[in-house]
Symmetry: C2
Subunit: 736 residues, 2 copies
C-alpha cells in the first residue's frame, strides 16, 4: 500500500505537461454549462450507482496484422456474481460487429499469433493463469499450461499485491511470439516458500508491519522452437522482479532475442541486465546493464531514446542517442510517453515511431507520430487511451473516451489521422444523457497553477449556490470516462445528479514548476534534499491550498455555497485530504480512501522517504517538529470537519489518524471493507462489487449528512446517523 | 505478546516475599559447591540438550476421593514427532505403579467424577477439545461432544493465543460436576466471524498491529440434570472473557450453583458478575458484581478472603471479611496464594483452608494449612508445585521438584505434614548426576536485594575463573526443575556442563521494597503515577544493576572471569537484557527472547502502560527524552555487546531494535522460529521441539563464539561464523 502511495506521486513526474488553453475561455461563464442544454436530459436517462459500478476498466486492445479485426479486454464489475471479471471481445473493424468470446477472472497479454488469424492470451480458466490460443470463432485451446503456484493479489503468500483484482494463481507469467510466429518465448513461475525454516536478519526484518506475508517464486524462461522442442533459457531467482513481473518484453532479431533480467548483489543493489540469446550458440550472454530505473522507453527514428524535456511552455520533445547526442523535435503543446495508455510502436523501416501523447490542461491523450521531420499529433474528440498498431503502423485500433463520452472502439488511419468509430464498449452508458463537464484551471495562493474539471449538477441553475465536493487523486483528472483510478468510490456522476458541484482537481504539475519538480525528485531520492518546510509546502500544502482557492473562486462566482463543501480522495489523494483537513477548517466533511503516508507509524517501513520529507525519523528530536507540523494524526486537534476513512486493510497509519481524531472529539469514522476470505484483503483500488457499492453509498450518506444535514432512511448506513448525531453534538467548543 | 510482557512483571506483585536466610551462610565459600562431590558424577550421566528438551511441563494433579490413586498431566516434547503432547498418567498412590493412559495434543481439567472411580477430562482426540470419561483401566468415552470451531493458539482467527501449545480447536471449554456427581455444568463455544462484513471504528482500530487476526466466540452454559436433560443456562456474548476462558469455576450448593460472567457496558467498562442458578426456579439471577480484577481468591476459616500484606519482615497473613474486618494470622516467612502452583482447597466443615505458600529467598513452594488457630506450613525437600486434596482435606497428591530434583509424584498427609514419594514423573532425568546449585542473594548499588541461584559448572575448580551467563525471567528463579517458563531456551544445565557459571537471578521483589511496589502499581495503573526517571530506575535500571553487581561480586570472589560474561532472558527478561545491553557495556554478549516492550513502536498499542512509564507517547516532545533514555532501539549507539534476538513472530519492536543495532554497527542477529503453518506462529514460550532444540543450539553457538571465541564446526549454526566474524571486524571504534 505504502509503496503505491509514494509511486502515485512519483508517476506524476512523467505525466502532466501543459501549454494549451486551460478552459474554454470563450464561454461567458468561464465554462459554466449552457443551462438549456442540460435540462434536455429527457431523451436519455440519468446516472445511478449501478452505472458507476459497471464503468469498464479498459485493459488493452490488439489489432490484427491486416487491420481488419481487433481483440480487446475490459474488466467490468458484475453485481450478480459479486465479481469483477475480465472480458475478451473480438470485433470486426469494418462491420463493427463485436462479440464477447471469453469471460474469466483474468485475461491479459492478448497478442495476435503471427501468421495466423488466431489470438493468444494469458487466461485463468480454472487452472490458474495459463497461455491459451483463441480462434476467431471463439474456440480456446491451451498452448502452455504449468502448475499454478505463484499467488498475486492481496492474499497471504502473494508474490505481488496486484491492483484491483481478486487473488489469482499464475502458471505462465509472460510470453512473446517471434515475428514469424514459429518461436515462443515464455516465462513460468514456481512458488518457493520459507515455511518451516528459521529465518534470520533481513528475512525477519522485511516482515515488519506486513499484514500479508509475501511469497516468493522463481521464474523459468523458456524458448519453444518451431519443432516444439522447449529449451530452458534461464531459471531466475526470486529477487529478479523483472522476470517475475515480466510482460514478455523481448526484442527478437534474426539470430536470437534480447530479454531483460534483474540482478541483485550482496548488498541489495539492483541492476537491470539485458541478456541476448543466440539461436545458434543456444546460450545467453550479458550485453548491457544499468542501475537506472526507466519508467518509459521508446526508440525514435534516429535510434535514440524519445522523451520530453523542460517545463511548461519551454517543453521540448527530444531524442537522445546512446552517444548523448540530442535532437530536438521542437516545442509541442503535449508531452510523450504515458505507459498508462499505451506503450508505442515502430514501423518496420524504423523511420516512424508512434507514441502516446498527453495535453496538459484539459489533459487528453492522443497518438504522436514521430518521423525524422517532426512529431505529428493525432487527436480524437476525447482521448485515445489504448492503441495497438498493425505491423506496418498503417492502422491503429484504439479505445476512445472522454469525461462525457463512454469508451468506444475506434480505428485510426495513422497517415491521415482520421479516426473512425467502430462500436461502443459500454452501450449501457451510452443511454445516459451526459452530464456537463467543463475543463478549468486555477492558480493558487502560492502561484501554482492546477488543472481540473467542473462536473455540473444536472439542471444547474445560474444564481443558485450549490454544495460542492473536491475529488482528487493528485493527477488523474483528465479526459477519461468516470475513471475509477481517479474518482475511486466517490460516485462523482451520481453526486452531480444529486445536486452537487464536483471539482475534479489535479495537483500542481511538476512539469510546470521547477520547484515542485525539485521537491518531487528530493522525495524520490533522485535529487538534492530540500528543507522540510519546503517539502511540506511544495508537496502537500500547496495542493491543499489549490483545493481551497479553487472552491473560493467558484464561491466568488456565486456557483458554490462555501459553507457546504467537502473533499474526497484516495491514495495520494488521501494524503492531500488528510493534510487539507488538519491544516485548516475550510472543508466541512471529508472522505479519505486507503491512505496513511505521512503518519509517523509508517516511517520505519520507508525511512529514506520519510527522512526526505521530514528531515529525520520521528524519534529524532530535530525532526519531530516537522512531524508535528504535517502528520495528520499529530494535528488532529486542529481539525473540525467530519473525516471518513474507507480502507482496504487495517493500516496502522489510518487507525492512528482515526484514534487521534476520536481523542480530539473530531467527528470521524473508519470503515474497513472485507476481502474475499480471512486470508485476503480488498485491493487498494476496490474490486469487489459489493464493497464498491457500499463504499459509494457510504460516501453519499456521509456527505449528505455532514454537508446537507440530509438523512435517507433507506441508506444502508442509516444506522450510523445516531452515532454521527452524537459526534456532532460533542464537537469541541473550538469548532462551533 | 505485549500483554504478557506487562503481566510478567505484574504477576510479581503477588509473588516473591522473603524473610528466610538467602543462602547457606554456613558454607565457607558463600555457597560454592563441594568440589569433591561435584566430580563424583561418574555414577550418573551428564546433561545433554535432549534432556533439556524433555523436561516435562507440569500441568495438574487430581487425587481420588479416597486418596488411593491420582491422575496427573504433563506436557513433554517429543523429538520424533516434533510435537509437544499432553500425557495423562494414572498412579496408584500406595504401590507407586504409574501408567500413561492417554497422549493427546490437549488434556486439561482432569477431575474425579464424584461417586465413581472414573476421571473426566477435556481432551483433543481428533474432534477438537471435548469432554471425556476415563476409566481407571484407561478406557475413554465421550461425555459431551460439541462441534469444535473456536481456535486457541498463535493462529489466525484465534480466540486466545494460548501459551506453549500448538493450535487447537475447542468444542467444550469447561465443566464442573455437582458434589454428588449427578449434575454436570459445562460450557461449549461457537465461533462467530465478521468475515465478509464491513467493519467500523473500534472493530477496525482493534486490528492495529495485529499479526494474527483475533476470532470470536459465544459461550453457551449448560446444565445436564441427573435424568440427562440439558438446560441452556445462558448464551454469553463474545465479550464475556470469564465464560470463554472459564475453567468451570462453579460453586455448588443444595439449591443451585453460582457462576461468574463478565458484563461489558457500552463504554467498554467490564464488570465481574456472580450469577446464581436455582434448580427449582430454573433461572439465573445476579447476586453480586465487582469491577476489581482478582488475581487469586481463597476463603479462610473465618469466611473472609486470605492474603499476604506488608513488606519483607513485616509481612503478615490476614483474612479480611466482607465487612472489612481484618484478622491477622501473624507474620510468617512465606507468602500465600500462588495460582501458578495450585489454587487451594477448603475442608467440608469450612474450618480449614489449604493454600499454596512460597518462601522468598531460595524461593520454594509448599502447602499452608490455615485454621482459626493459625497457619501451619508443610514443606518438602524442594517445592510442592501442584497439589490436589481429597474432599476431607486429609490427603494431598502433589508434584515435588527442586532446582536439582526432577519432578516426583508424592502424597502429603495434611495432618502430620509427612510427605511420601510415590513415583518419578521423569525417570530419564533421575539418571543424570545432579549439578550443584546454590541459592544466593545479592544487594545492588541501589540497595535493592535480589534472590537467585548459582548453577556451578560441572567439576568446578576453586581458583579457576569461569565464563558466566546471567539468566533471568524477572521472577521465576526458584526451586523448580529446569523450568522452561524461567530459563526458556537457554540451556542452563548444558551451559554448566560446558564450563559456564550460570547465575539465575530474580529482580528485586516488590514484596520487599515499598518503592518498587509503588512503581509496579503505577505501571499497572493501580497507584499514583511516578516521575519517568523513577519508573526507569525502579523497574529497569535497578534490575540491570543487580545483574552487573552480582557478577562483579562473583568476580571479586575469583569465581567468574568478568571479561567473559553474557546475559539471557525472554519476555520480561528480554526487557531487562535489552536495557542492560544499552545502558552499559558490562556484558559482552546477550540473548534476548521474544520481547519488545519499551520500544516506541509498541506505544500506540498500549498507550496507558507507556504513558505510565514514559510520561507520554513518543511523539510528545515532553516525553521523547524519556524514550531516548530507556528505549533500547533509541540507545543502540550506546551498545557494544553482541545481541541475539530469538523471536516467535516478527514483532515490529524486535525488528526496530535489530535495525538500530545494525545501523550502529553493533553485532546482532535476529532469528525467527516458524510456526506449524503459514497461518500460525511459534508461541511465546516455544512448543515446537525442533525450534526449541535449534534455539538452544543457537544460544550455545552464540555465547561460545562471543564469550569464548569458540567455534564448533558441527553446530547447525556454523554457517553464521563468517557473518559474525564480519560484525566483529566492523565493531565501532568506541567499542574496541
Amino acid at each position: 500500500m505504502r509503496k503505491i502511495l509514494v509511486l502515485a506521486r512519483a508517476s506524476a513526474l512523467s505525466a502532466a505537461l501543459c501549454a494549451i488553453p486551460c478552459y474554454a475561455s470563450g464561454d461567458t461563464e468561464r465554462g459554466a454549462p449552457k443551462t438549456t442544454e442540460s435540462s434536455s436530459g429527457a431523451n436519455g436517462r440519468y446516472w445511478t450507482l449501478a452505472d458507476q459500478l459497471i464503468v469498464p476498466r479498459l485493459w488493452s486492445v490488439t489489432v490484427a496484422a491486416d487491420g481488419k479485426s481487433a481483440a480487446y479486454v475490459t474488466r467490468v464489475a458484475d453485481a450478480a456474481s459479486n465479481k469483477t471479471d475480465a472480458r475478451l471481445i473480438l470485433a470486426d473493424l469494418e462491420s463493427g460487429e463485436s462479440r464477447e468470446v471469453l469471460r474469466s477472472p483474468w485475461i491479459d497479454q492478448v497478442r495476435r499469433i503471427p501468421g495466423s488469424s488466431a489470438w493468444s492470451a494469458l487466461v485463468d480458466r480454472g487452472q490458474g493463469v495459463q497461455l491459451y490460443r483463441i480462434e476467431a470463432d471463439g474456440r480456446v485451446d491451451p498452448i502452455v499450461v504449468h502448475p499454478a503456484t505463484a499467488k498475486f493479489g492481496d492474499i497471504d503468500g502473494r508474490l505481488f499485491p496486484g491492483v484491483a483484482h481478486a487473488p489469482i494463481t499464475v502458471g505462465v507469467r509472460a510470453y512473446s511470439w517471434s515475428p514469424d510466429g514459429r518461436r515462443l518465448f515464455h516465462i513460468t513461475l514456481d512458488s518457493v516458500s520459507d515455511q518451516g525454516k528459521i529465518l534470520l536478519d533481513e528475512k525477519v526484518s522485511e516482515q515488519r508491519g506486513l499484514r500479508r506475508l509475501t511469497g516468493q517464486a522463481t521464474a523459468s524462461l523458456h524458448l519453444r522452437a518451431a519443432n516444439g522442442q522447449v529449451t530452458l533459457i534461464a531459471r531466475r531467482p526470486r529477487t529478479d522482479l523483472l522476470s517475475t513481473m515480466s510482460k514478455g518484453d523481448v526484442v527478437w532479431n534474426k539470430d536470437g532475442f534480447q530479454f531483460p533480467v534483474m540482478d541483485t548483489d550482496n548488498s541489495g543493489g539492483q541492476r537491470r541486465v539485458t541478456m541476448a540469446w543466440s539461436f545458434s550458440d543456444k546460450r545467453a550472454r550479458e550485453i548491457a546493464s544499468t542501475r537506472d530505473y526507466v519508467y518509459w522507453q521508446m526508440v525514435g527514428p534516429r535510434g535514440g531514446q524519445l522523451s520530453t524535456e523542460g517545463f511548461g511552455d519551454q517543453r521540448e520533445i527530444v531524442e537522445v542517442g546512446e552517444d548523448g547526442k540530442r535532437h530536438s523535435y521542437g516545442k509541442h503543446p503535449f508531452s510523450i510517453g504515458h505507459g498508462a495508455t499505451f506503450g508505442g510502436a515502430r514501423s518496420p523501416d524504423a523511420q516512424t515511431t508512434a507514441v502516446s501523447i498527453r495535453a496538459l490542461d484539459d489533459p487528453r491523450f492522443g497518438i504522436g507520430v514521430v518521423t525524422r521531420d517532426g512529431v505529428r499529433p493525432i487527436w480524437s474528440d476525447g482521448s485515445l487511451t489504448k492503441c495497438d498498431f498493425t505491423p506496418t503502423l498503417a492502422i491503429a485500433a484504439c479505445l476512445a473516451e472522454s469525461q462525457t463520452q463512454p469508451p468506444t472502439l475506434v480505428t485510426v488511419d495513422v497517415r491521415s489521422g482520421r479516426t473512425m468509430r467502430v462500436a461502443s464498449v459500454s452501450p449501457e452508458h451510452e443511454k445516459i444523457t451526459p452530464l456537463q463537464v467543463t475543463p478549468r484551471a486555477w492558480t493558487n495562493r502560492y502561484g501554482h497553477k492546477v488543472s481540473g474539471y467542473i462536473v455540473w449538477p444536472r439542471g444547474y441553475q445560474k444564481g443558485q449556490r450549490y454544495p460542492a465536493i473536491v475529488v482528487t487523486h493528485g493527477n488523474d483528472a483528465d479526459q477519461r470516462f468516470a475513471l475509477q483510478d481517479n474518482q475511486w468510490e466517490y460516485p462523482v456522476q451520481t453526486f452531480a445528479e444529486r445536486g452537487y458541484v464536483i471539482l475534479l482537481i489535479n495537483e500542481a504539475s511538476s512539469r510546470l514548476n521547477p520547484e515542485i519538480r525539485a521537491a518531487d525528485q528530493a522525495w524520490g531520492l533522485q535529487g538534492k534534499a530540500l528543507p522540510p518546510e519546503k517539502m511540506r509546502e511544495l508537496l502537500w500544502l500547496t495542493a491543499a491550498a489549490s483545493f481551497e482557492d479553487a472552491v473560493t473562486e467558484l464561491a466568488r462566482e456565486g456557483i458554490v455555497d462555501p459553507q457546504r463543501v467537502g473533499i474526497a480522495g484516495y491514495s495520494r489523494g488521501s494524503q492531500l485530504v488528510n493534510v487539507a483537513m488538519t491544516q485548516s477548517n475550510f472543508f466541512r466533511a471529508a472522505s479519505s480512501g486507503d491512505g496513511g503516508y505521512l503518519e509517523p507509524v509508517a516511517a520505519a517501513d520507508m525511512p529514506e522517504s520519510y527522512i526526505a520529507v521530514f528531515g529525520g525519523l520521528p524519534y529524532d528530536p530535530q525532526a519531530l517538529p516537522n512531524y508535528l507540523a504535517l502528520s495528520p494524526s499529530l494535528r488532529a486537534g486542529e481539525a473540525c470537519g467530519a473525516i471518513l476513512q474507507q480502507v482496504a486493510a487495517p493500516h496502522a497509519a489510518s487507525i492512528d489518524f482515526y484514534r487521534a481524531l476520536r481523542k480530539a472529539a473530531v467527528p470521524t469514522q473508519i470503515s474497513l471493507f472485507p476481502g474475499e476470505s480471512a486470508a485476503s484483503d480488498e485491493t487498494h483500488v476496490f474490486h469487489i462489487p459489493s464493497n464498491r457499492m457500499a463504499a459509494m453509498q457510504e460516501n453519499i450518506a456521509w456527505f449528505d449528512y455532514w454537508l446537507l444535514d440530509k438523512r435517507d432512511p433507506e441508506s444502508p448506513f442509516a444506522d450510523r446517523y445516531a452515532g454521527w448525531d452524537a459526534m456532532k453534538g460533542a464537537l469541541p467548543a473550538r469548532c462551533r
